[in-house]
């Protein structure tokens, strides 16, 4: 009985730890993005609140919390209120299967640094991330506004198109690791990360991750200059904040997934594993920000062409080639 309680407490502790760290990272990622983006455009980002603008996330939260929570006339109230939550929660849920460190030994107990080591972890990730689209599309539909609806429909078709390539680009990883479990995938990259073994899969996965997180160059659902704000046009206050935080949590989560699948997770010389993991996730996030600063938004037909005519065949051929090579190597 006490054994079970300790296990439960450990899981709870890990959950709280992850929740805290991810939210903290998401909050400061907003600041980091604004800062880096600013410097790349020859301006300073936010630097008024606190030293170097470090209290900016706090100021943002206070501002969003004190704003009026507004529901448009003839909007579908319940769906309108629920939609931002779906986005944020699905983003957070994925973190349950992400291993962020090797098994630790605390007071003689083996503590794996992952909330649940699901043996179908990859499929869990795909399932939960395919739920994320509901937040966007229901938010867009329930707002009872043209712009929101268009943003929602765009987000829907974009996510469905790219989910396919996302899943298919992970098949070579699963083939190489011979397991669906994310811990096993990290273990398989002890010597060489999969990014070097299979750069094509990495490329396809990275592009799909960008599309999945609705970031530039794939931010068509919110395209500020054509759709006002896309699916979150009508949102204000903390509900908008939830959409916003959801996007950045998604960034952290997808960054750690790229790390787990292709960059070798926590493996790395000299530094402690946890630091390596953090460093890699931050590097991927920095890459996201850099891409945002450098690339224009794709046109809608270009987006669909890229997804269906380039990435999908490429990932299919990649599966075939990887399979053949693995078979040849025995």
């Amino acid at each position: 009985m006490s054994e079970m309680l300790v296990t439960l407490a450990l899981i709870l502790g890990k959950l709280l730890f992850i929740f805290g760290v991810v939210l903290f990272m998401a909050a400061y990622l907003v600041l980091a993005e604004r800062k880096i983006l600013g410097r790349m455009q020859l301006r300073y980002g936010p630097n008024r609140v606190g030293p170097f603008g470090l209290m900016q996330p706090l100021a943002d939260v206070i501002k969003l919390l004190t704003k009026e929570d507004f529901v448009p006339a003839r909007a579908d109230k319940w769906l309108f209120l629920i939609a931002p939550g779906i986005t944020a929660v699905t983003a957070l849920l994925v973190f349950a299967v992400i291993p962020f460190g090797p098994t630790l030994e605390i007071f003689g107990r083996q503590v794996p640094l992952v909330v649940v080591d699901l043996n179908i972890g990859v499929l869990y990730f795909l399932g939960v991330s395919s739920m994320a689209v509901y937040g966007v599309v229901l938010g867009g539909w329930a707002s009872n506004s043209k712009y929101s609806l268009l943003g929602g429909v765009r987000g829907l078709s974009q996510m469905v198109s790219y989910e396919l390539s996302l899943g298919l680009s992970l098949v070579p990883v699963i083939m190489m690791a011979r397991s669906f479990s994310l811990t096993d995938i990290v273990m398989a990259q002890q010597s060489i990360p999969f990014m070097l073994l299979n750069p094509v899969a990495f490329g396809v996965f990275f592009i799909c991750v960008l599309a999945e997180s609705n970031r530039i160059p794939f931010d068509l659902p919110e395209a500020e200059n054509e759709l006002v704000g896309g699916f979150h046009t009508e949102y204000s206050g903390m509900r908008f904040g939830l959409f916003f935080v959801g996007e950045y949590i998604n960034m952290v989560v997808l960054g750690s997934l790229v790390t787990v699948f292709f960059l070798g997770g926590w493996h790395g010389p000299w530094l402690p594993p946890l630091l390596w993991f953090l460093f890699k996730v931050l590097a991927v996030c920095a890459m996201f920000i850099w891409i945002r600063a450098s690339m224009p938004r794709l046109r809608y037909d270009q987006l669909m062409n890229l997804g269906w005519k380039i990435l999908l065949p490429l990932s299919l051929v990649n599966i075939l080639v990887t399979g053949a090579v693995l078979l040849g190597l025995g």
Partner: protein, 175 residues
């Protein structure tokens, strides 16, 4: 024990959500209730030792098929002459179907009751993805091929049906 309780709870959720789904006026709500029902079913699948199928159920049904439904509903509603909201059937239309369903359920119950196997329990068992994969690609390789053919037929068919008149004329002009 926990699994048994969960099964009944999830079964109740699935039934309730499905029941709500079929009486909705607005198809968007029907889809959302159906997604709930699909989630409950996926968890039941997991309890019955099919984790892979449970995950696929969420990915394929909730993540792709229902999203496709939503897409079509929204696409149709964008057009100004919207008529997607057909009238919801009244009590009078439901009653014969209820009778039919009741007969169906009673007959099935009778059949189940006559079967000596039925009252036996489903054992705790669990199929690993590895077993699943071996069976799928060794014993059922032919089925996989047929299914993939069918999917490509469906893709071609959907493309053909979905083509607008203008695009069709354009293609004929080109050729």
């Amino acid at each position: 024990m926990i699994a048994t309780v969960m099964f009944y709870l999830l079964g109740a959720v699935a039934l309730g959500a499905t029941g709500l789904a079929i009486i909705q006026r607005n198809p968007v709500y029907a889809v959302i209730y159906l997604v709930k029902s699909i989630f409950a079913l996926a968890l039941i699948f997991y309890l019955l030792g099919a984790p892979l199928v449970a995950a696929l159920q969420v990915i394929v049904y909730a993540g792709a098929i229902m999203v496709l439904f939503l897409f079509v509903i929204m696409m149709l509603e964008i057009t100004p002459t919207s008529a997607t909201q057909c009238t919801a059937p009244g009590w009078a239309q439901w009653s014969p179907v209820l009778l039919l369903a009741l007969t169906l359920v009673t007959l099935t119950l009778l059949l189940i009751g006559l079967d000596p196997l039925a009252s036996e329990g489903v054992p705790r068992w669990h199929a690993s993805p590895r077993d699943f994969g071996y069976a799928l690609f060794k014993e059922y390789a032919l089925a996989v091929k047929i299914i993939s053919f069918q999917l490509s037929f469906a893709a071609v068919g959907a493309f053909h049906v979905g083509m607008t008149e203008r695009r069709r004329a354009q293609l004929e002009d080109e050729s």
